[in-house]
Amino acid sequence: MNAGTSDVQEPNLQKSILNKRGLKKPDLHKADTFKPEGQRSLWIALFLLPTMLVFLMFILWPIIASIYYSFFQWNGIGEWPSYYVGLRNYQDLIGDSHFWNAFKNTVVFVVLNNLIKLPLTLIIAYMLNNPRLRFSNLYRTGLFLPMVSSTAIIGIVMTFILNPWNGPLNKILLDIGVLGRPVDWLGNINLAMLVVILVEVWHYSGQYIIYWLAGLQTIPKELYEAAEVDGANSVQTFLFVTIPALKPVIIIVTLLGIVMSLRVFDIVMAMTGGGPAFSTDVIGTFIYRNAFGTASPRIGYSSAVAVLFGGLIMVLGTLQGKIVGRGNHG
């Protein structure tokens, strides 16, 4: 389009790029050959085609099909559902205590996980953000290390560390006298969810420390210098300088934390499988069990759960977009 306008603007830059790529020297004769618009449109379409195919088949179609399946009773045998039941799956869902249990557990997981994870990682990031702190990189590496390990595998390692017979955690706590007798961390209905949440906090804290550190970098140094001149100590600086200046980042990271923790599946599968007595069963494991973990799969019913739950997250996600958008304007 603008081929003629810039031929003299950055000749060195183009030459060095072209030479590096081993292309022939600029041929001024060809500078006048404008490509027809149609040809460019064709290229654009061609560039988008592979991605759109993957997206339509593996992302958009499953969402549409989930909604469609949710109106049928179907055990997954045969190519296509045929027994239309209207809204009955949704009606069953509302009366299903197992669904509400999984729903409640998911909410507990999301709320507790973020209530612990977000403040904890913000405080750690604040400590690490001090430019005068020695060994800062060493501390960061140590705290980041867990997050690159696979959730399924780390969950299984944790089941041994936490095991009630001779797991290292019980052993250490018994030795230093914190516990009188071993605790079955994952076998106790009241404890299992909290323990799974803490493991998830530990596992992904590095990611949130990175988010907060990126946010803290956006706060102008002058604000801290002013606080120092005023004689504020580090706690006061944190509360009255950092937190207010970080408000937009806090909103983004909180919503990110909520949306990501709503996906909880791997850690529960690996550590408890939803037990004991469904006390850690979340929506992800509920859908999985009804679709794959049973001799008579309830595909239509599971799809209704998925639609209801996915819809809820879409609403939250849109909310996130709105709030983030507003933050950028004002």
């Binding site: 081929a3 810039s6 603007q9 183009q14 072209l18 292309l23 041929d27 060809k30 040809q39 460019r40 560039f47 988008l48 592979p50 991605t51 759109m52 997206f55 088949m57 593996f58 179609w61 499953p62 969402i63 989930s66 750690i124 400590m127 020695r134 590496t141 140590g142 705290l143 867990p146 690159v148 390990s149 696979s150 959730t151 399924a152 595998i153 780390i154 390692v157 089941t159 041994f160 290292p168 052993k171 030795d175 530990w202 988010y211 990126a214 983004i252 996906r263 791997d266 599968m269 992800g284 859908i287 999985y288 679709a291 794959f292 799809s303 998925a306 639609v307 996915g310 997250i313 977009g321």
Partner: protein, 284 residues
């Protein structure tokens, strides 16, 4: 400023000391499970039970690795995971750079709709669409083969890579393409020889994020390899292993180390790219 008295200095020194104490304690707690896992992988099963909290294996032996690697098929799972991660990364870079390029630089009808669909669907968790995905793969003959789980996994993480490429290409000056047009490059050559090499930092970030991400994948490989155990990745293999040999915990620790340590090495080598990729979510 003027008040640098002895008391102030002492207070500051103690403050700094307690800051380091807190951070050291945190690091010990954070790293302990990983160090424990690696040390347990060299212990015997008997020692694992008798001295479970200890971190020094005595006697130190490699038999757990032999059992995990050969009899428990972790050599196969390891190879599968490498093939999976490499294919995912290659596919994501190809799809992400091509579509990110045109979405970032050109105006065309339907672009807004595509962006809304891409961003709107990223928040939908995989668990909620796993059933139709499974059915679709079954119909297309993509179940229980490598192409199936590679495509299914890629589709989900692809969008984030596309957004990273879009963000990069929006910022590249228009002159860069014009220089190619002068040279008589067609659209593809312009992209391949000028625009793609420019995106090296993004390619680096996407490669590291997705190598580690694919290595950690669990749900898709789990569901896609139900009837083909020899296609399992490390995470799925580990999950099955615990179900089948739940008494051999020392071999389990070795298998876990085989799975986790390579990605920690990758992370330590390319930490900067990884952190930049994650931090983009907040800065962007």
């Amino acid at each position: 400023m003027a008040k640098t008295t002895g008391g102030g200095y002492l207070r500051r020194l103690m403050q700094r000391g307690s800051l380091h104490a807190v951070l050291i304690l945190l690091c010990i707690i954070w790293i302990y499970p990983i160090v424990w896992m690696i040390s347990a992988s060299f212990k015997t099963n008997a020692q694992m039970w008798n001295n479970s909290a200890g971190l020094i294996p005595d006697p130190l032996q490699l038999d757990n690795y032999v059992r995990a690697w050969t009899t428990s098929n972790f050599s196969i799972y390891f190879l599968n995971t490498v093939i999976f991660a490499v294919s995912v990364v290659a596919l994501i870079i190809f799809l992400g750079s091509t579509s990110g390029y045109v979405l970032g630089r050109f105006k065309f009808p339907g672009k807004r709709l595509i962006m809304v669909l891409f961003i709107g669907t990223t928040v939908v968790p995989r668990a909620t669409t796993i059933i139709p995905l499974f059915q679709l793969a079954d119909m297309l003959g993509l179940l229980n083969n490598r192409i199936g789980y590679t495509l299914a996994y890629t589709s989900k993480t692809l969008i984030i890579a596309i957004l990273l490429f879009i963000g990069f290409y929006i910022g590249v000056p228009r002159e860069m393409e014009d220089s190619g047009a002068i040279d008589g490059c067609n659209f593809w050559q312009q992209f391949r020889h000028i625009m793609l090499p420019l995106a090296k930092p993004i390619i680096g970030t996407v490669t590291i994020l997705n190598t580690i991400g694919a290595w950690k994948a669990f749900m898709i490989p789990l569901v896609f390899t139900f009837s083909r155990p020899n296609l399992r990745t490390l995470g799925v293999g580990m999950y099955a292993f615990v179900g089948e040999f739940s008494s051999d915990w020392a071999a389990m620790a070795a298998a876990a180390s085989i799975s986790i340590v390579p990605m920690m090495v990758v992370f330590l080598l390319f930490q900067r790219y990884f952190i930049e990729g994650l931090a983009g979510a907040v800065k962007g």
